[in-house]
Amino acid sequence: MSKPEMNWAAINADPRFQALHRKKSGFLWGLMIFAVIAYFLLPIGAAYFQDLFRVKVWGPVNLGIVFALCEFVVAWSIAGVYAKRANRDFDAMAAEIIRDAHNIK
């Protein structure tokens, strides 16, 4: 497989690549921070808000169990949101840059 020389600095500076970089990093950081906060609320809640976790909401099912189950839903949702966005936007933006990569000098 021959690999033609690319002007990486030029691609990096290309407005289309910069747009991809901005959109992607903003989105990823947002999701990552949300995920971390959501996750650490569980041990913090279980340690310092036990009275809240004890509240029964559905028969013997208490808020603690509901919250722990929600963590699964949150994790899956984040994965779904990211995949949808990446499949729709980021892949297309990257594909355009790849198509044009040889001409960016």
């Binding site: 690319m6 691609i11 990552m32 028969g59 099912v61 699964f72």
Partner: protein
């Protein structure tokens, strides 16, 4: 040639498992069933290895299955690689013994994949080749970064591997009574056969088979246990709350606090936090190590080099998250189901850590210890546990071998000038070396406390690999010096903190416990309730420092207790009682009491003999200096900090010059290593 050798290894493994069957959870008359299922699984994986071996000739085929694995396949393989016996049997066990806390513990293992998905999988696929070292060497000095990356990979894999080998040996012994050494050697030979002959392709398919078996077994068990409550969560949990065995377990766990509670309240307590995990800071520290460490585990990273594109890498994480998350939701039902059907006391009697919860639930669901179906179910779950161990171990061996052969031998020693043939030979030789080492370590570590090794592997991965990979991928100013310093400091800190943590064995505490069992305890006067004491500062919660006030939870008032007799006196009393009994049930209960006391006495005597005269732990401490079980809270920030500070202090022309190329390539996939043509 390969076929013969593979056949030989399989025959040896089956023969050795048949020859050394002793006692275990499976009764002798049903053992043939277990061996039949084991044999079927071994035969299937050996066929896979034979098939894979015929297609594994080049380096890319050996390390990365020719990058021909699809996203869905890789997702299953990741699940197979990640759901170790510790999570399959361990978490179900924790839930069966401690309820809510066990379930809460499982959440971090799934959330960890968000980090993998968002920041690691696709960039690594786009710029990586076979190893962690390849990613770091892309812009940093190749020799230096490959050396530290290989060291770190081998360290993390060895910790994980040792825990798996020892855990696997004990597990097989508890389940079917095969001698510990024999099972370690059997597991070792099998996984070496997969890796050496079939490389990544065989490893991938063994992991897929294992994941499918694991999910099937769990689904069947949940179908039976939850199904009888009409798949209603409240009805199922109501059964847990009202179960006498669960209530008794809670009473045992909370001790004096149980005196003023109704039976129903105690049952409900099982669904509330705080029965197992007592220290929230330790929890957060462990959470950090899980969430950041998974993305730095070499055997998980390696899986992303097997798919053809970044899109497939993404798809594989999504699939892995569905399977892993779905499995952990099922563990809630497996664990709670085992608690109500088998009972926490019986489970803990079989294995203190609760590892037998899922197998015993399987036996119960099939009709109990005397029934054919019950034992078939047990045999199946035991075989799944066995498949789990070999699949996880194979992935680890491949990761460690690739670091040795590809990073150290080809990259550092040969300066990347090795012929394709030489590379494949090096990879196979390294796999054999790692495999033999794993067997040796497994046998040498028999009876050692290895539970902390998995936590340590995650902590090292999170404090060393992740900061280096993350900052190399995303931070323009990251340099070779930063990566080397960060990885060394991060991993050494993590290991050093564990060496002085409560995970180690402290002879004085062991001796005190042993004497308590043998000599009994004096009577205690009534105690007044004491309020919770806060540690005098955060540092005091983390380290045993001079002048610190230690944190204490609130204690409710306790009534005076009588003196407890020593083991010998207790045995004499029980025997005396036994002589006067006529009721069959009572006799059985007392007999069990005698057996338990004898077991405790033997253990205490063994501990006494082992530690008599010793006063300090391995590193010379009388008691822990670092108070958390997991070092992540300190070592992870320190790892990141060192990469940043040393990158800023020592600049590196290549690291800067390559940044543009790395960043463009990791985002677009231009020039990514492609699939090899067949």
């Amino acid at each position: 040639m390969n076929l013969k050798l593979i056949g030989g290894a399989a025959a040896l493994a089956v023969a050795s498992s048949l020859a050394f069957a002793g006692t275990g959870a499976v009764a002798d008359e049903f053992k043939w069933m277990t061996f039949a299922v084991f044999g079927a699984i071994i035969a299937l994986t050996m066929y896979i290895t034979y098939w894979a071996a015929r297609q594994t000739h080049t380096t890319s085929e050996f390390y990365a299955a020719g990058r021909s694995v699809t996203g869905v396949q890789n997702g299953w393989a990741i699940a197979g690689d990640y759901l170790s016996a510790a999570s399959f049997l361990g978490i179900a066990g924790l839930i069966s013994l401690y309820g809510y806390d066990g379930f809460m513990y499982s959440v971090g293992w799934l959330v960890a994949y968000i980090t993998v998905l968002l920041v690691i999988a696709e960039p690594c696929r786009n710029i990586g080749k076979y190893t962690l070292g390849d990613i770091l060497a892309f812009r940093n000095n190749p020799r230096a970064s490959k050396t530290v990356a290989a060291l770190s990979t081998i360290t993390v894999s060895t910790f994980y591997l040792t825990a798996q080998m020892v855990g696997g040996g004990v597990l097989i012994k508890t389940l079917i009574g095969i001698d510990y050494t024999v099972s370690v050697i059997g597991v070792g030979i099998l996984m070496m056969a997969y890796v050496v002959f079939g490389g990544m392709k065989a490893t991938t398919w063994v992991q897929i088979v294992k994941a499918v078996l694991l999910v099937t077994a769990s689904l069947v068990l949940v179908l039976f246990t939850w199904g009888q409550y009409g798949f209603s969560l409240p009805s199922f949990l109501q059964a847990v709350v009202t179960d006498a065995k669960v209530q008794a377990q809670v009473a045992k766990l909370i001790g004096d606090a149980a005196t003023n509670m109704t039976a129903e309240e105690m049952g409900q307590r099982f669904l509330e936090p705080g029965l197992f995990l007592k220290n929230p800071i330790d929890q957060i520290s462990l959470g950090m190590a899980l969430v950041l460490g998974t993305a730095g585990l070499p055997h998980i990273l390696m899986r992303f080099f097997t798919v053809p594109t970044a899109q497939e890498a993404r798809k594989s994480v999504i699939w892995a998250m569905s399977i892993i998350g779905g499995f952990y939701v099922l563990t809630l039902f497996l664990g709670m189901g085992a608690a109500i059907n088998v009972g926490p006391a019986v489970i803990a009697g079989m294995d203190k850590g609760g590892n037998m919860a899922a197998p015993m639930l399987a036996q119960f669901v099939g009709g109990g210890p005397e029934s054919i179906l019950g034992n078939l179910f047990l045999a199946f779950v035991a075989a799944v546990a066995f498949a789990t161990i070999v699949a996880v171990v194979a992935g680890l061996v491949l990761a460690a071998a690739s670091a040795m052969a590809h990073d150290i031998y080809v990259g550092v020693i040969k300066g990347d000038h090795a012929s394709p043939r030489e590379q494949v030979v090096a990879a196979r030789v390294a796999s054999v070396i790692v495999g033999i080492l794993a067997i040796y370590v497994g046998i040498a570590a028999e009876g050692q406390n290895v539970a902390h090794l998995v936590g340590m592997a995650f902590a090292v991965a999170a404090s060393s690999n992740l900061p280096a990979v993350f900052l190399t991928l995303y931070w323009k100013r990251c340099s070779t010096a930063g990566v080397v310093a960060g990885m060394l400091v991060g991993s050494i800190t993590a290991i050093a903190l564990v060496m002085v943590s409560p995970n180690m064995t402290y002879p004085q505490a062991v001796l005190k416990e042993a004497r308590k069992v043998l000599e009994g305890e004096p009577a205690q006067p009534a105690k007044e309730a004491t309020p919770a004491v806060k540690a005098s500062s955060l540092a005091c919660e983390l380290f045993a420092l001079e002048g610190c006030v230690k944190a204490e939870p609130a204690h409710p008032a306790a009534a005076a207790t009588d003196a407890k007799p020593g083991a010998a006196e207790k045995l004499a009393r029980l025997n005396e009682k036994l002589a006067g009994l006529t009721d069959a049930d009572e006799i059985a209960a007392v007999r069990k009491g005698i057996a338990d006391t004898e077991k405790a006495k033997a253990k205490a005597e063994a501990d006494l003999a082992k530690f008599e005269g010793q006063t300090t732990s391995m590193v010379g401490l009388e008691k822990p200096w670092f108070l958390l079980k997991n070092p992540g809270l300190i070592s992870i920030p320190l790892g990141f900090l060192c990469v940043i500070v040393f990158s800023l202090l020592v600049r590196d022309k290549r690291s800067e010059a390559m940044w543009g190329e790395l960043y463009v390539r990791q985002n677009t996939g231009i020039h990514a290593e492609g699939a090899t043509a067949h």
